[in-house]
């Protein structure tokens, strides 16, 4: 088991390197950070050269990647832009945790920029994930137990429709129904913008109220597809022999379903949930845009459109690392939960 984990970790490292190289190359045409450094006027040509030398942008790509990866405090950099490298660099490189400073928020370390916004996204994503798991288990289970009933057909159709909707459509639809129309009809309505009402302040109640619609939009699609999946695995499990044995033994129905059937049926969901992290992140980008939620997705969009390469690289590497780590955790959890799997 430990050898398997070690092997996976060793495989993950070159994967992350390849990903970082691919993204670094793609970052080259992110827009011209030097164009706006002239203040109100366009940067002069002589200033451009000087700034390029100062920021290290005139070096070859591979050297820039090396500096990004391991820093330049072991090399000399040209801080005054005259072409002669004389001072020691100050960056420590990604491998030591230094992602550089943001080009848009001048001088603020990338790690801090991301760290400011990361909790907001986690507030959305973690409850969504929990909601998805719990609700899809319940709905899938109910649908499997009452197979071919009206409820089952309704759930299946709704799942299909929900699965085909783009997330912004769900967000807009829920916004329209629960916020706009509820307000028109005089019902208590849900807020749609931001994380809290600035007049009331960032209280727990405010944040929870503002959280409802974004979480609903984020979870709906995954809920639709997982409840179908759970329904399928549940039906498969219910036709197994050991369920028949349990029924023959006279176990109460509730125990059969909740203890024996559900445990076995929910095992595949571990894999699916673990691999669904990218989808949730993608959904977060769009949802945060629509609901003006100050999270990492909006950070990514804002800084991408303004060509802030360090922040974008930081977010991308973090996301890739999270995805790889989640895949590993999922595999290990699945192997741990299912004793039938033996890894060499």
């Amino acid at each position: 088991m430990t050898r398997y984990i070690l092997r996976r970790i060793l495989q993950a490292i070159p994967l992350l390197f390849i990903i970082s190289v691919v993204f670094f190359v793609l970052m080259r045409n992110m827009g011209d950070p030097l164009a706006t450094m002239g203040g109100r006027s366009i940067t002069r040509a002589s200033d451009r050269e000087r700034l390029a030398r100062q920021l290290g942008l005139d070096k070859p790509v591979l050297l820039q990647y090396l500096y990004w990866l391991v820093g330049n405090d072991w090399a000399k950099v040209d801080l005054d832009g005259d072409g002669i490298a004389e001072s020691n660099g100050t960056r420590q490189g990604v491998l030591r945790g230094d992602f550089g400073t943001s080009l848009v928020n001048r001088g603020v370390p990338v790690v801090q920029v991301i760290w400011d916004r990361l909790p907001n996204t986690l507030i959305l994503m973690v409850p969504s994930e929990i909601l998805i798991i719990v609700l899809s288990l319940i709905v899938g289970m109910y649908s499997a137990l009452r197979q071919y009933s009206l409820m089952d057909h309704a759930v299946t159709t709704l799942s299909f429709v929900g699965y085909s909707m783009p997330i912004f459509f769900i967000a807009l639809l829920s916004m329209y129904i629960f916020a706009v129309n509820f307000k028109r009809w005089g019902l208590p309505y849900l807020p749609t913008v931001g994380m809290f009402d600035p007049q009331v302040g960032k209280t727990f109640g405010q944040v929870s109220l503002h959280m409802i619609l974004p979480i609903f939009s984020l979870s709906f699609i995954s809920l639709a597809s997982y409840s179908r999946y759970i329904r399928g695995t549940m039906l498969e499990v219910l036709s197994q022999d050991y369920i028949r044995t349990a029924r023959a033994k006279g176990l109460p129905r509730r125990e059969i379903i909740l203890v024996h059937a559900l445990k076995n049926a929910s095992l595949p969901i571990v894999t699916v949930v673990g691999l669904d992290l990218p989808t949730l992140l993608a959904g977060a980008i769009v949802t945060e845009r629509i609901f003006a939620w100050p999270g990492m997705g909006r950070l990514f969009l804002d800084h991408l459109s303004r060509g802030d390469a360090p922040v974008v690289m930081g977010i991308l590497m973090m996301v890739s690392f999270a995805v790889v780590a989640f895949q590993l955790i999922t595999d290990i959890t699945y192997a741990w939960l299912d004793p039938r799997i033996r890894f060499e």
């Binding site: 994967l15 429709v161 990218p278 980008i285 990514f300 459109s305 890739s320």
Partner: protein, 318 residues
């Protein structure tokens, strides 16, 4: 009946009490089993209607009309003159959904063609040759697969933004971003297909008829394209069909975020851009394009599911 077996030289006329239906080709068998799925048939019908709407609607409105801005008429509710209303700068939404549909559907189909070609080439090479080529290609596939597609799409869209000029095809001008979108969607969706193709190749490669082909001196690529690939068509077709839905959704996502197809070329996705600002005052801005996207993706999913059931190798009998 004897006429069905006349292709084989050793055919003998069968006695009448041994009636046999002619052997069905894969296409015929699939169609017969596909016919049983009512939802899948409904899906095909809806897709056909959507195609007629998008491409036939060009006879009702010209493209110039769909880009015709009349800011005095901005944000008008659906009326007789503008059945779907007008958008924020006064363009007719019905005409824009027609031409937007053409672009969205074309992007979906073309991106899938690109994705299928790349996926088949990489999967075939990895599956057939094996060894270090397989390891190398699979590492690369895994790297592309790990990154969430939308991040790759956004970064690549920014990379190409502003670099590709407008194209003029058959009298219509397309924004260069259309080609960019097709290429980047195709280049980010192939890993899933490549893995499936590789798995199929690994299993089919072990058959004896492949050994026989190699023994008679058939070239490698001839074996790949002439023998193995026709036998692995089923999962490729299913994945490609579901890939169309994914491509249309991806295009909608990045156009919605503003990095996709640039205006004035309309697509269903970029018609939704900024619609959330007018959610209370002008719901027709997003209802119509959004519903069209949902209908397209829904029917494509139905068709894909129906195809998957029809092509399921585990139940080859009728």
């Amino acid at each position: 009946m004897s006429q069905t077996l006349s292709l084989s030289p050793s055919a003998t006329p069968r006695p009448l009490d041994e009636l046999e239906a002619p052997p069905l080709s894969l296409g015929e068998l699939t169609w017969r089993r596909f016919r049983r799925h009512k939802l899948a048939l409904a899906g095909i019908l809806v897709l056909a209607l959507l195609f007629i709407y998008s491409f036939g609607g060009a006879f009702l409105y010209t493209e110039a009309y769909s880009n015709f801005t009349e800011t005095g008429l901005r944000l008008q509710a659906p009326s007789a003159a503008h059945p779907f209303g007008t958008d924020t700068i006064g363009r007719d939404i019905l005409a824009r959904t027609i031409y937007g549909g053409q672009i969205s559907l074309m992007i979906g189909l073309t991106a899938v063609v690109l994705e299928t070609i790349v996926g088949i080439l990489i999967g075939a090479a990895a599956g057939y040759y094996g060894g270090w080529l397989d390891s190398l290609l699979m590492r690369f596939t895994e790297a592309v697969f790990t990154i969430p597609q939308i991040f790759l799409l956004l970064v690549m869209a920014k990379f190409f933004s502003g670099r590709v000029p407008n194209i003029t095809l058959s009298g219509r001008t397309f924004s260069g971003s259309v080609v960019v979108i097709i290429v980047i969607i195709g280049l980010t969706s192939w890993p899933y297909l490549a893995r499936i193709v590789r798995a199929e190749f690994l299993s089919i490669k072990e058959n004896e008829f492949i050994l026989a082909a190699r023994a008679t001196g058939t070239g490698s690529w001839q074996i790949i394209f002439g023998h193995i690939l026709p036998n692995s068509v089923a999962p490729i077709v299913v994945t490609a069909t579901l890939g169309v839905a994914n491509a249309i959704l991806s295009e909608a996502y990045i156009s919605f975020l503003g990095l996709g197809v640039q205006p004035p070329t309309a697509t269903w996705g970029n018609m939704l851009e900024g619609a959330y600002n007018y959610i209370a005052t002008a719901p027709w801005l997003w209802v119509f394009p959004g519903t069209l996207i949902v209908l397209t993706v829904l029917s494509t999913n139905f068709v894909g599911d129906g195809l998957r059931d029809a092509l399921d190798p585990r139940s080859r009998t009728m």
